[in-house]
Symmetry: C2
Subunit: 351 residues, 2 copies
Amino acid sequence: MNIGKVFEVPNRWVKADGPQADIVFSCRVRLARNLRDFVFPPWGKKSHLKEAARLILKTIENSDYFKNHWVFDMNRISLLEREFLLERHLISKEFTRGDETQFLVTVPGETISIMVNEEDHLRIQTILSGLQLMQAWEICNSVDDRLDNSLEYAFSPKFGYLTSCLTNVGTGLRASCMLHLSALVRTSRIDDVLKNVSKLGLVTRGFYGEGSRAQGDFFQISNQVTLGLQEKEIISTVSRVVRQVVKEEKNAREYLMQHSSLKVMDEVGRAYGILSNAHLISYEEAMVLLSKLRLGVWMGIIPYSISVDTINELFISIGPAQIQVSQGRRLSRTSRDKIRAKMIREKLSNA
Amino acid sequence: MNIGKVFEVPNRWVKADGPQADIVFSCRVRLARNLRDFVFPPWGKKSHLKEAARLILKTIENSDYFKNHWVFDMNRISLLEREFLLERHLISKEFTRGDETQFLVTVPGETISIMVNEEDHLRIQTILSGLQLMQAWEICNSVDDRLDNSLEYAFSPKFGYLTSCLTNVGTGLRASCMLHLSALVRTSRIDDVLKNVSKLGLVTRGFYGEGSRAQGDFFQISNQVTLGLQEKEIISTVSRVVRQVVKEEKNAREYLMQHSSLKVMDEVGRAYGILSNAHLISYEEAMVLLSKLRLGVWMGIIPYSISVDTINELFISIGPAQIQVSQGRRLSRTSRDKIRAKMIREKLSNA
């Protein structure tokens, strides 16, 4: 499977067409599942895990849900290509090691993906634009149901789905939203808000999930507990908290508009000015500036027709591995910074 | 005399029409003169100095050279207005104290100006665009000649013109050029070049003369010694050294174009981006960014028709006192930064 294919179909979930997409970049649901008759990945022998993978891939192959799908053998693609998939939020950091038992299945548009033999035999993921966790859950659940027809999952009537890590036992479900909280950061309210989120039993993380720091004012909110709850309860708890945070962010934006509009206009203007005129730009700087621009679009203070879509798309496409895969080779930092600056300039001048 | 008049006539010497004006922002010649029959300013009684001023002003009044001229009584204009004149390089820092014996005479376009009772009874100054020290000297000399017809200067056949400070005795002449040495700064050659300049007996200073630091890569080069030399010798020494420095700067610019063009394009692009999109900008930051833009214009890497003229004009017009005088009142730093940003945005978008 040539990884270049992934480029040919636009990444579906970066289109900012979901509800509250100006603040909720994306929502994600993932299910952890294991096969009853196979040792779980952390303890399984490679030969057994390969056999489990073979079985899973065959089942997927035969499912009508996956008429059009892509399979990537983690051991057969380069590290750069694995980094490319990581940047697109299709695989986890752990999955970039390139183990021969590991496979990624995804579909054009990348809304559904399955990691085979990550921490669990199956990690089924759905990502959608904006705050539509329930829809994401329904898609994920329906994929899970089809697979469940052919695969025998490790399931305990007492505990629910069994997983490699205790934190996933029960529903095996993690529901998360990526939020763009520029105004809460600027009004210094972010710490309070995140503290409240964790009091409600939810976790906050950065742009690239577990262990990553908040970048460009993006924060991921997700559930902690999966045991002893119904799936829909989890989904509605996360949705409710996210809606509350969105409301707080909107209030903070209104506040900024009224009390610091000049300062924000300056910050956004400068971000736009640099992005549309730089000839060398690092990934980190570009993320921070694009985040400011994204706030500016919401506030209507960008005097040009730049859309949130355009900015979302850039967030993904300017990743170091995206640039290198698009050029077909490893590049020096300077070369990447040069290409990134050009991509951004062109994108913004076309807008 | 209403200071607003000064705004009505464009500042002549900021037009970048002199030779080498892309590197030599301006050249300046000033003559220090004193009246034989009056104690020199540092030691004179106020009443005597007023009498000297009266005599000088009457002489100027009657000179055909000053048919159209402006006189500012330093004691009658506000501190803000004095700062305004300082920013326009019409008076010295010392002259902003507003002593009742002190007057400024200048003409529309501001190429000629005379400070009365600064350190000496007369400080006659000519500023022109680019490297035309000889022409500036000729104008200054001709003004001096006319005044000499009516005033009796303190002159010693042995020492020449007598002045309050020993460093000016002799010709009383200071010839200086303001150079924009962006490439020598960026190639780290500036220190060597300035060291050589001082070995040749010349002095280097910042944008606002004595005691000011180099701002936005501007350096002033002037003669140190005035005693024991003919005026034309001084002029040609300074001109020769400046021509040499200009040559070095040009070489450094060629070098930059060949070896660091991407880095320079990035720096200039970002400067342009910020200047044309900021909503708050300090004087210091604007000077630094305009200096980069000025280099970009020379290098032809600004894809817009911005001229050195436009940039030179901004260098003067964005001064804190210029902005406040144009608004007719003292303003907070934030208000000034806001107006300055708007001025720059409009100027660059009109270009």
